[in-house]
């Protein structure tokens, strides 16, 4: 069998070989194949603990791969069509940070949609990059931010010719894609890198029925949550790069913050999932598409709910739609998405991905069974029958154009004071406020606080959204710049 073929899994094979070698472990981890922690071994299983091992010669080292990890990364790069792939064990958060920190140094500008995940802005706190926000268009009925319009990106590039990179969500949590091909060309024509957050897009690489994957569209770097649609263990991700960035430099950047004791459970799961996607991804995705299309039709047949799809496509801010995403507009039954999310969990034992103030997102993947889809649809029908409300005043979400006063790093590390949240109007926030999930900031460090923003925060809190970010966990106080 050829070594560099997609049916191989070098890390997995090396772990199996290591087990057969019956090494006597006088190295970490201290549980020694689980023997030192019987309770944990009973809980997780002997198989699992026996491969929770440290870097060693036959297993390579993630900080400096020269053998099996290097080979597994090469196979991943081939499978995804990238010049190089990095296995990441700190989640897609670490991959997004590596992208921003590779492209930008202190004071460098990055053109970025405002509806990015907090990890992108966190990276700016760390490296001192400054965001140039592009207003993501907003769907006023659904209350969700969309993709970037190409013209807006063009204008931002024109206004900021010194920016180093353009950042794109491909797709958003809700499945919406910008015209990444045109944006990549624009960026390259102006000497900028194109970075893609593909936390919700690792499956795009394996089907021709879905929007184009970032690397196939010319992106220079892409951060993929393999643990979402790829099937690997939580916290494992892949960072892909193209020819325009230096593999060695990216490696250095990753090693600034990455653990030196990478988990082989995570690495093996990436290896196996890559193999699985490369060999069987197409049929797996076909099955997911069938299930989601079925669920969408059934949910739309209930009445009032709106499970949206490709009909939203408008050629620009919704250039394409990922039909594996099951997002449902719920405000038409008089309930916020988060209220339906709570009802599903508390009354129907169904845990969905998240609810925002107008939508519910159910994550459907290769692990789902048709009978579970039936339960979800039936529970939504029952929620409509039992809990529908009319004449209720619901906040209409609008895009709140952020007033960026200074960069995230300056705001975060600057002189600050803590004020009761109602007394902060007009001040510059020095921390994040967001609903999690989806983890898109309502306020980011360096942005001016307005009454409109506070109203949104109060409403989301009242509806039961889980609010995170501020130093004060109850969000009664906010840190603002002095």
């Amino acid at each position: 069998m050829e070594y560099y073929s997609q049916d191989r899994a070098p890390v997995l094979e090396a772990l199996e070989k290591m087990k057969r070698a019956r090494l006597v472990p006088f190295d970490v981890p201290g549980h020694k194949r689980g023997r030192g922690n019987p309770e944990l071994t009973e809980f997780l299983g002997e198989q699992c603990l026996s491969v929770d091992v440290n870097s060693m010669k036959m297993l390579d080292n993630l900080c400096h791969p020269v053998s099996v990890i290097k080979d597994a990364e090469r196979l991943a790069a081939d499978a995804f069509g990238a010049a190089h792939a990095f296995f990441m064990v700190g989640g897609t958060t670490s991959a997004v940070q590596a992208m921003v920190m590779t492209a930008c140094k202190q004071g460098d500008k990055i053109i970025i949609p405002r509806n990015v995940h907090r990890s992108a802005i966190n990276a700016m706190i760390l490296c001192g990059a400054v965001p140039v926000y592009v207003n993501p268009q907003m769907d006023s009925m659904l209350g969700i931010s969309l993709g970037m319009s190409v013209a807006d990106v063009e204008q931002a590039i024109k206004d900021n010719p010194d920016a180093k990179a353009v950042f794109v969500n491909n797709p958003t949590y809700y499945g919406i894609c910008s015209d990444i091909k045109s944006i990549a060309k624009l960026a390259h024509d102006n000497g900028m890198l194109l970075l893609a957050d593909e936390a919700h897009g690792s499956h795009l690489y394996f089907s021709d029925k879905l929007p184009v994957a970032a690397m196939h569209a010319g992106a220079d770097m892409a951060a993929l949550s393999m643990h979402k649609s790829g099937g690997s263990l939580t916290q494992s991700s892949i960072l892909l790069i193209g020819d325009r960035v230096s593999e060695g430099y990216v490696h250095q950047i990753i090693n600034l913050t990455q653990t030196t004791s990478a988990s082989y459970l995570l690495l093996a799961s990436l290896d196996v999932s890559r193999r699985n996607m490369a060999l069987r991804g197409r049929e797996m995705i076909d099955k997911i598409i069938d299930q989601v299309e079925y669920a969408r039709d059934e949910i739309n047949a209930i009445g009032d709910y709106y499970a949206y799809s490709r009909e939203l496509i408008n050629g620009d801010s919704i250039f394409d739609f990922d039909i594996t995403k099951l997002s449902v507009y719920t405000r038409s039954i008089g309930l916020a998405g988060i209220e339906v999310y709570d009802l599903l969990r508390d009354e129907y034992d169904i845990q969905t991905e998240f609810g925002d103030i107008a939508n519910l997102l159910a994550y459907v993947s290769v692990g789902d069974r048709l009978k579970d889809i039936e339960r979800l649809v039936s529970a939504l029908a029952e929620i409509r029958r039992n809990y529908r409300q009319t004449g209720r005043k619901m906040l209409k979400a609008e895009y709140i154009n952020p007033q960026v006063v200074c960069g995230p790093q300056e705001a975060f590390y600057g002189e600050k004071e803590s004020l009761p949240i109602d007394k902060t109007v007009g001040r510059v926030c020095s921390e994040f406020v967001m609903c999690y999930p989806p983890g898109i900031p309502i306020l980011a460090p360096g942005e001016r606080i307005t009454e409109e923003i506070l109203q949104y925060i109060r409403y989301a809190k009242k509806k039961g959204c889980s609010m995170t970010g501020p130093e004060d966990m109850d969000i009664k106080f906010l840190n603002v710049m002095k």
């Binding site: 009354e347 048709l370 009978k371 039936e374 039936s378 529970a379 029908a381 029952e382 039992n386």
Partner: protein, 284 residues
């Protein structure tokens, strides 16, 4: 040579029945189906290793899941059976001439085929002209139905495997919606005895209480089911299962049954204290 079929009732308890021969074994899209011939219990139907019915004691289950609601409801014309691919419940229903329509929704067509072929005494009425069989997920079927039936009988397997959707709140709520204003739902309600079964029983009761104003439980003795002590649920929009029932009306039908009678009906709702307590724990 001795051949035994064994079903584990808990991790530590099992029931074994000596088998004369295996009549059928097959795998459908949903489950493995086996039919055994035994000296003591006659033919036995087993799904995924779990005993579903035996020819010797199925009459207890099928009479009790059917006739209680048929006696309480003053004028049942349209009845829906969900699950019950073996045909036993349908057989009991066809004993009433005044029923106009019997719909059977069974997810696994092969259960019906195998029953027709090997369990003639339970499946014999599946071809009655009033019976329509739908082969689909019960949860999906019921979702589309509004105000259609007088009685719904949920003749399901256990709350794991193909039948798990039939133990959910969304299912019971959809049944409520599918019934007329005076409709009754009867369901296979697991057992109160062993811990695992009792938890499933409590969960089902809790969820039914959320959907129906009247939710009662009655008991029955089935020798081949775990502990032999089994329950059915009686959920209703209007009628109490015992109070105000016109017993004479049912007696006048003149049905000759092997297990059910009206005195037993009334008595079956009298439950042991520990069962009452398990139920009370989940009633809010």
């Amino acid at each position: 040579m001795e051949l035994w079929y064994t079903e584990k009732h808990t991790e530590n308890v099992s029931l074994s029945i000596k088998v004369d021969k295996q009549i059928y074994s097959g795998k459908s899209e949903f489950q493995r189906i086996d039919i055994f011939e035994s000296k003591e219990f006659g033919r036995i139907m087993v799904l995924d290793g779990y005993l579903m019915l035996t020819e010797k004691d199925e009459f207890i289950y099928h009479e009790m899941i059917t006739h209680v609601a048929m006696c309480v409801h003053p004028d049942p014309k349209r009845v829906l059976v969900i699950g019950g691919g073996d045909g036993g419940t349908v057989r009991e229903l066809t004993k009433y001439d005044f029923i106009e329509k019997i719909d059977l929704v069974e997810i696994d067509e092969e259960v019906v085929d195998v029953s027709k072929k090997y369990l003639h005494s339970t499946a014999l009425k599946l071809d009655d002209p009033r019976v329509t069989c739908y082969y689909e997920d019960g949860l999906k079927f019921i979702r589309r139905v509004h105000d259609e039936y007088d009685i719904i009988i949920v003749d399901s397997t256990d709350p794991f495997g193909p039948g798990e959707g039939l133990f959910t709140r969304e299912f019971y709520g959809n049944c409520y919606k599918a019934l007329h204003d005076d409709g009754i739902m009867v369901n296979q309600h697991e057992s109160p005895f062993y811990e695992g079964d009792a938890e499933a029983m409590q969960r089902a009761h809790k969820r039914i209480c959320m959907s129906f104003p009247i939710s009662k439980v009655y008991q029955v003795h089935i020798p081949t089911y775990p502990s032999g002590h089994w329950l059915f649920g009686f959920a209703s929009k209007k009628y109490h299962p015992v109070k105000g029932v016109n017993w004479d009306r049912w007696k006048n039908f003149g049905l000759k049954l092997k297990y059910y009678n009206t005195a037993l009906h009334a008595g079956a709702f009298a439950l042991p204290n520990y069962v009452e307590e398990l139920l009370r724990d989940v009633e809010s």
